[in-house]
């Protein structure tokens, strides 16, 4: 068997409940850590504030995605109906005054483009999909999607120190503190 070098990813600690996780998150935030995250089986209300996270910027992406959809639909309908191939039916005009008839398609494409922007914007923001992650090497981390509440502090955080960070996690109520390593 070849020897593989291992690199420390960080510390993983378990907390007993959502409220324990919440209180621990506030302390780690106040200790000035940056590269860390709380893991829970469901979204915990108010944890963003406890972690010092800003509101998601996804709505801005979606706003511009939706505007693009609306403009695309208008350009498509106007260019084909008024410029390239005017269809005179039901005595409706084939000029700019026919625009109200384009509203349903403009609405639908606004929603469609917004929907795609939500999907791809979200994946970009949460940096997924990815097939593996150092945390998946942990023996206990699988409980984060079942009934476990965890905090992981990464080694690349400037405040990280092998002993003090471990002590901090123990002090704020972390159990089963584990050093997670990834293969280099």
């Amino acid at each position: 068997m070849s020897t593989t070098r291992k690199r420390v990813y960080g510390y993983l600690a378990e907390f007993k409940s959502a409220s324990a996780l919440y209180k621990a998150a506030e302390k780690i935030r106040d200790a000035g850590f940056r590269k860390w995250d709380c893991y829970s089986p469901y979204p915990i209300h108010g944890l963003d504030g406890a972690m010092g996270l800003k509101r998601s910027i996804l709505p801005w992406f979606v706003f511009f995605g939706g505007m693009t959809g609306c403009a695309t639909a208008f350009a498509l309908a106007y260019s084909t109906q008024v410029v390239i191939y005017p269809t005179i039916v039901q005595a409706k005009p084939a000029n700019i005054f026919t625009v109200p008839a384009f509203f349903p398609v403009m609405f639908e494409l606004t929603i469609l483009f917004s929907g795609f922007t939500v999907l791809f914007g979200l994946l970009a923001l949460i940096q997924l999909p990815r097939l593996n992650h150092p945390l998946f090497a942990s023996k206990q981390f699988h409980r984060a999607t079942d009934d476990g509440f965890f905090i992981a502090i990464e080694a690349r955080d400037p405040k990280f120190s092998p002993n003090q960070t471990k002590e901090l996690l123990a002090e704020i109520g972390g159990a089963n503190i584990e050093l997670v390593e990834e293969e280099d």
Partner: protein, 488 residues
């Protein structure tokens, strides 16, 4: 966390009456792990015999009805359908409107009830969204093949073609193409994104192997970190906000296919709200039809409680009554307009050769849900199932009445025809029922049928301030149930 509210708001100054405690959404104080076990167990354990007894026949019916039926149709020509030169929409469009309407309950539950913070939706939203996807798939078959030569169905899309002819963007039929395809796509995104954390749960429970790889790919590497949840919740909120007007637009656009025509009985302004209410009505009946048996077979009674069924029954009662109002208003407007053609169209519907369809529509859609005024009826699952079945059938008849009876008596007496569906019509319709059930069975078998993460979130201890006794600097105070003690 609305489920923990036990006091009236602080601003209330009048006499304080006792506030009834909300019924719990999850019974018997189940733990997080129990919820995971029970829902993932549906996917991981061997399927009960009943699953096979339902899946095999429905898959066969789908293969023969949809596969065989469409093969026969395409190789022979649409003439094998019962559509005639006058009743050119016939059964295919009846079935299209029927199926597309079924889907609306799923989006209502996942989007509108989310925006209005109705936490009881969490136990049923996943299955209802799956139902939406499958119903829209069934619906899409009909107009695609109804164009006649299905290999030219791409003419519906606004892409350049050799004839240099462009689609008519002023036509509701083209609006329909955009509305239905957008609806399907956005519903699929909503369904899939909602499922990602739960797929990660299944992934984390799998032993290493092919199964873990497949669920791992579907779960996209989800870790459940709050830096992910934070964006994820925003994405979910945005999709709900986008889907809410979308679902209202889809059936409105479908109703424009009728309402913008100059046909007596169709040319009415009440159609969009009437169609949307009818769609939600029929959709909820289908959710009940499917979820009541599933909850017994998989032992999900603690998650899908009688409270959920009670709420759905009340929505059926409400929307059924709106539909009834629309039926009567149509009659009144026809009478009040004084237009002889309009009056005649409705006389023909009620007392013509299709009187039985009109009577079935009225009794099944308007009268049968009225039983839900009584608590005893909402609590008896046999009654609930029976009424849900009545509504399923009744809503199909509604579309039959609107489409067939109207087209059978248009302006010119020389055009008058009576429509009867051919065997191929019936075969394809029954086939889509089989397809819908077979797809739903596969969904139960392979995907988490209840939203695991959201159900956990509805538990009282999911609130990070659940065990706070005193003032909390960030998020206010946990309400003290003081005056309730006084009353005791």
């Amino acid at each position: 966390m609305a489920s923990t509210t036990t006091t009236a708001p602080e601003t209330h100054t009048g006499v304080k009456l006792p506030v009834l405690e909300r019924e719990k959404l999850i019974l018997n104080e189940r733990s997080y792990h129990w919820i995971t076990e029970r829902i993932c167990g549906v996917v991981e354990n061997k399927q009960p015999l009943l699953w096979w007894l339902l899946f095999i026949p429905s898959a066969l019916i789908a293969a023969i009805g949809v596969g065989g039926g469409l093969f026969h149709l395409v190789s022979t020509g649409v003439g094998v359908w019962g559509n005639t030169n006058r009743v050119m929409w016939g059964w295919p469009i009846v079935n299209f409107v029927f199926w597309i309407g079924i889907g609306h309950a799923g989006t209502l539950i996942s989007a509108i009830l989310f925006l209005t913070r109705q936490n009881w939706r969490t136990s049923i939203n996943r299955a209802a969204e799956a139902m939406t996807i499958f119903a829209v798939m069934c619906a899409g078959i009909f107009p695609a093949f109804h164009v006649g030569r299905v290999w030219f169905a791409w003419f519906l899309a606004p892409v350049p073609n050799a004839n240099a002819v462009w689609q008519n963007f002023k036509s509701p039929l083209l609006w329909d193409v955009f509305a239905v395809s957008t609806y399907f796509t956005v519903s699929l995104i909503f369904w899939f994104l909602g499922m990602v954390p739960d797929l990660a749960t299944i992934r984390d429970r799998c032993k290493p192997g092919l199964r873990k790889v497949i669920y791992g790919i579907l779960a996209l590497g989800w870790r459940g970190g709050n830096r992910q949840w934070s964006h994820y919740e925003m994405a979910y909120l945005l999709l709900a906000a986008l889907s809410t007007p979308l679902v209202l637009s889809v059936h409105s656009v479908v109703s424009f296919d009728f309402a913008t025509s100059v046909v007596p009985g169709w040319h009415t302004t009440i159609f969009p709200p009437y169609f949307v209410a009818g769609a939600i009505f029929g959709g909820f009946a289908m959710v009940l039809t499917i979820m009541i048996p599933a909850r017994f077979v998989y032992g999900l009674q603690d998650l899908i409680t009688m409270k959920h069924i009670d709420n759905m029954a009340k929505i059926i009662l409400l929307t059924g009554t709106i539909v009834g109002y629309a039926y009567l208003m149509e009659l009144f407007v026809a009478f009040y307009s004084g237009a002889i053609y309009e009056m005649d169209a409705f006389k023909f519907r009620i007392a013509g050769p299709y009187w039985w369809a009109y009577a079935a529509m009225m009794s099944l859609n308007v009268i049968s849900p009225q039983f839900f005024w009584f608590k005893a009826c909402r609590e008896n699952l046999w009654v609930v199932m029976a009424i849900a079945m009545c509504v399923n059938v009744g809503m199909w008849f509604e579309r039959f009445v609107i489409i067939v009876t109207t087209l059978a008596r248009m302006w010119l007496p020389g055009d008058w025809k009576t429509f009867s569906p051919s065997a191929q019509d019936q075969m394809l319709f029954v086939g889509t029922i089989g397809m819908f059930l077979a797809l739903f069975m596969l969904f139960l078998r392979f995907l988490p049928c209840i939203n695991i993460a959201e159900v956990k979130w509805t538990k009282p201890e999911a609130d990070p301030h659940f065990d706070d006794k005193e003032h909390h600097p960030d998020h206010g105070v946990k309400a003290e149930p003081a005056y309730q003690k006084e009353l005791v």
